[in-house]
């Protein structure tokens, strides 16, 4: 009978935990359901984003942008009829092995167009399925060149790794006046390694020297890496790593009194990163797609929305600071709507045909696609962490040249 | 004098400071049933384990059919700690330390004091697995059933063997579902399946009632006759030992204290002392 008791205990524990979790989460807002008065029916937009795994945090913030956009504009005019837009969110768990089934699940739900993903690896894994199904996909922040170059149905609204890496190299060499750089990337992350590759290439072309190092997944102590950077005489540490590691690196750099600048990529544009820099003696500069304050109406609107929605706030890391990925998610949604309008149909094939011609002025700037399917972007925002306020300060807009 | 099957010379087994088997020498000839007896903790099973390769002896040599199969002498740390005698006798001979399966392959099969049947297997499979040793097929031919003839032959032999030992009717039962006596018998059948020249039984009658013991005695006698087997056995049941043994070795505290025919042993004062000195409970 002890067994029975244990079983009951285990179940009770689980239920209790589940109950607490449920009550604290509040109602998850599926805002599209609220306005079901439109005539034409429903058009589904697939959201292919990580909600779990290493990129879970970033993916959730990206989804927030889409959900807010959906809240702002829940309907779309297609071929003279008004359709409700319904977001179909599927978790791809960050990693490539879960990409195909998540993508297939989206196809199964009959979406007209797909948004996402946050990371490139899983986008490529999903891309094969989208291509099979002939459903267009709009990459939001997947910056690897191969996402679009190898997949006919993939388009994207962000800049690419070669561009971002070069921008940062230029910024470090020209603006910061540093000739010796140290890079740190996670072993096994194609995103990190790709950016480091382009950064190194560009930085060396400018005449600088670079020391490359990798850290294994799951590392928490970065003190020795910072010491290595100091020993190498680096004036800047370039670490295009995921949010969690970015925080750890800032922490270690501050503890070890690293005097140069920490350079981050778009993954660093996250309120948790900037908060961890607050009150510390560090210099953090990053490139990103969007600068908070770039569009006052958008900023105010989304902040109000986030503040009124407990779940959204949790997913945003507990405050209302707007990350660039959120703005990008927002823009991606509207690009998808533009494509649907231009297609005049909810048929994926028609949307795919219409997508290359879309031109949309989003909060992150003008979005148009080139022949490969990449956004024509020639400038990135550079932001610096304000260690007093714990917010990002705008520094400059930097191009490649 | 008939052919010598097993020969132990100066076998010593020392664990740390404890000498479990001390300078034991014995011989078994073809066709004999020899018993190794002694009070509890005398070192009988340890002797068994050194013969079958489970333990590496500290010193001494075991020969099987005239060929040395196990040999060692005190080395390393044991050189200083060694408490036995004849440390130098085998010091210049190469050390032989085969694993138990190699020894079984030479033609020596054993049973265990605490029955060690394969629990999830049927009676038939328990015996069949023992035939694995005699295969000529490799893993590929076995997997792709290119060894049908061999497999069929082995199955036939197993069926025959089960018939002989009287377990045919339970061949598809799980080994562990058999009554105790039959499990013992199955263990012996399993050992016989490896086609040994020497059968080593470790307390085959342990835990048996008198009737079962009588049956076992008859059974062992039959095995000797039918298979023309040489048998070494450890046993506590004196009835059984005196009944079927040709010769008896008695050890106490690892040392050989007496050896001879049952009649000689029964009247040996040292043996009586050794047994009376220790309460026998088996």
């Amino acid at each position: 009978m002890k067994k029975l008791f244990a079983l009951v205990l285990a179940l009770a524990m689980t239920l209790a935990l589940v109950a607490c979790g449920g009550s604290s989460s509040g109602s998850s807002g599926n805002s599209s359901e609220s306005s079901s008065a439109a005539a034409g029916g429903t058009v589904k937009i697939g959201v292919f984003e990580p909600q779990t795994g290493d990129n879970g945090a970033g993916g959730k913030q990206e989804i927030l942008g889409m959900q807010y956009a959906n809240f702002v504009q829940p309907t779309v005019e297609i071929g003279g009829q008004t359709y409700n837009v319904q977001l179909e969110i599927v978790d791809n768990r960050t990693t490539a092995e879960n990409g195909p089934s998540a993508a297939a699940e989206l196809m199964n739900r009959g979406v007209s167009v797909v948004l996402g993903s946050y990371g490139s690896g899983v986008s490529m894994a999903g891309g094969a399925v989208f291509a099979e199904a002939g459903v267009p996909a709009i990459g939001v922040t997947c910056t690897n060149p191969q996402v679009t170059s190898d997949c006919d149905v993939y388009y994207r609204i962000c800049f690419l790794d070669p561009f971002q890496g070069t921008v940062l190299a230029n910024y470090a060499y020209n603006t910061l006046g540093v000739t010796n750089a140290y890079t740190l990337a996670m072993l096994g992350s194609d995103y990190d390694q790709g950016l480091v590759h382009y950064f190194t290439e560009a930085f060396q072309a400018l005449g600088g020297t670079v020391t490359n190092e990798d850290f294994p997944e799951g590392s928490a102590n970065f003190v020795s890496y910072i010491n290595n950077a100091k020993a190498a005489g680096a004036g800047v540490i370039f670490a295009p790593v995921s949010t969690n590691y970015a925080q750890l690196i800032i922490e270690a750099a501050s503890a070890q009194g690293f005097e140069g600048a920490l350079l981050g990529s778009d993954t660093w544009d996250n309120n948790m990163v900037v908060e961890s820099a607050q009150g510390k003696n560090v210099v953090v500069d990053i490139t990103t797609f969007y600068q908070e304050g770039g569009n006052a109406a958008f900023d105010e609107g989304i902040k109000a929305w986030i503040n009124s929605n407990a779940d959204a706030k949790t997913n945003n890391g507990g405050n209302d600071m707007i990350s660039a990925v959120t703005a990008m998610g927002y823009d991606a949604y509207f690009v998808a709507l533009e494509a649907l309008k231009a297609a005049g149909s909810t048929e994926p094939a028609a949307v795919l045909k219409a997508l290359p011609g879309v031109s949309y002025e989003g909060v992150s700037g003008l979005i148009e696609f080139d022949e490969i399917g990449d956004a024509k972007r020639d400038a990135a925002y550079i932001k610096a962490a304000n260690t007093e306020t714990g917010e990002w300060d705008f520094v400059t807009i930097q191009g490649v040249n | 004098m008939s052919e010598n099957v097993l020969k132990l010379e100066n076998v010593t087994m020392q664990f740390g400071g404890v000498v479990a088997v001390d300078n034991l020498s014995m011989e078994i000839n073809k066709g004999e049933i020899v018993a190794l007896i002694g009070p509890n903790g005398a070192g009988k099973t340890t002797a068994f384990n050194t013969i079958t390769g489970v333990y590496e002896p500290t010193n001494g040599q075991v020969s099987f059919l005239g060929k040395p199969i196990v040999r060692n002498h005190p080395q390393g740390k044991m050189k200083k700690a060694y408490k036995g005698s004849d440390a130098e006798k085998f010091a210049h001979e190469p050390v032989l330390n085969p694993t138990p399966d190699k020894i079984t392959a030479l033609g020596m099969a054993r049973t265990f004091q605490n029955i060690r049947l394969w629990k999830t297997q049927t009676v038939f499979d328990n015996v069949l697995i023992a035939k694995h040793m005699l295969r000529t097929s490799n893993v590929f031919s076995a997997t792709f059933r290119l060894n049908r003839a061999e497999e069929a032959k082995q199955r036939e032999e197993v069926a025959e063997l089960l018939e002989i030992v009287g377990l045919s009717d339970v061949r598809n039962e799980l080994a562990t579902s058999l009554p105790y006596g039959k499990q013992r018998r199955l263990e012996i059948a399993r050992a016989l399946a490896t086609q040994p020249k020497l059968l080593m039984l470790d307390e085959p009658a342990a835990g048996m009632n008198p009737q079962e013991t009588d049956e076992l005695t008859a059974f062992i006698g039959r095995v000797r006759k039918d298979f023309d087997m040489t048998i070494l056995l450890i046993e506590h049941h004196m009835d059984l030992v005196m009944d079927i043994s040709d010769r008896i070795y008695v050890i106490d505290f690892g040392k050989l204290i007496a050896h001879g025919t049952p009649e000689v042993i029964q009247n040996d004062q040292r043996v009586i002392d050794a047994y009376l000195g220790v309460e026998e409970d088996a």
Binding site: N108, M186 | T104
Partner: protein
Amino acid sequence: MKHMKREHLITAAVLLALLVGAFVLDATLPSYHIAIKVVKKACVYSLVAVSMNLLNGFTGLFSLGQAGFMLLGAYSYAVLCIPVAKRAGVYQYFDGGIVQFSLPEIFSGILGDTVGGVVGMLCALLIGGLIAALCAYLIGLPVLRLKSDYLAIATLGFAEILRAFFQWNALGPLTNGSNLLKNYPDLGGAAAYVILVGIFIAIILLLVNSTYGRAFMAIRDDEVAAEAMGVNLAHHKRLAFIISSFFAGVGGGMLAMYMGTVQALSFKSAMTYEILLIVVMGGIGSITGSVLTSFLYIASLEWLLRGLDSGTFLGISSPIFKNGFRMAIVSVIIMIVVLFFRKGIMGDRELPDLFKPRRKAAKKGGDAQ
């Protein structure tokens, strides 16, 4: 073998029905349909789970190196199958890599496009398996002497070391470092996977029922007795380890095929744990159980239970159905099985056993203590 028993006939019928089902799926649904993806992935997991069961369930060696061997197979398959023309793109940071041939292309040149492509892919899969087997041979020498839990942790460590090597930039021209390998061909639809995995599992089944399989089980049941009965422990353990790793490697290759991209990062110890738990839930020592659970597990996780994560499940909307709930539920179920139904779904029974006329009262599912 002369007269087929009733249960074997039914089993054959069930298997045939499954195969026909797979063909029907392929014919009626588009290739990107979730059902087909689920069948493919479940097939791959079945093979890997069965290979793990061969080692952990049938031989009693508790190894946690499965992900490492899958990694070897996956990379072998991908490296050998990427079309030459696409290598420059895939190995973008390593000048196209050092391997400048593609097995499917080579065989296509000899045997024609369709047959040659398939032959090339199968060869690559088998080579992946062989590489995994070779690796198992090498590490088996020292590692297999270890006792149960030490063996587990040593093989786990081995898999992690392997992963670090594959991500090492110095090996980039071969492995593409931390970056994805992709653009290699896939074998086909659900039916192709079912047939291929079916063949591999059938081979494992034949092995298990051969004299070697019986020896493995003897080692599991009682190592000392097995050795005393002439089973060479070192040799047989290594054999089981190598064969299991071979099929894990092949399974890894098929996983690569299914995923469309390969990255060393996927092959973490979490993957091994996942497979282990599938084996346990299916019943340690039951091939049918491993296959059945693979299908149940993959179908629930990838498809049927997704509603638990996205707000609505079986028509019920609840705020507790939010992200992560699915995994939480699955892990609670796993714990219940581990604790209270220790024999898993199948115990040590196989498919034909289910159709046997009942002789006695059925065995109890969980063994009460």
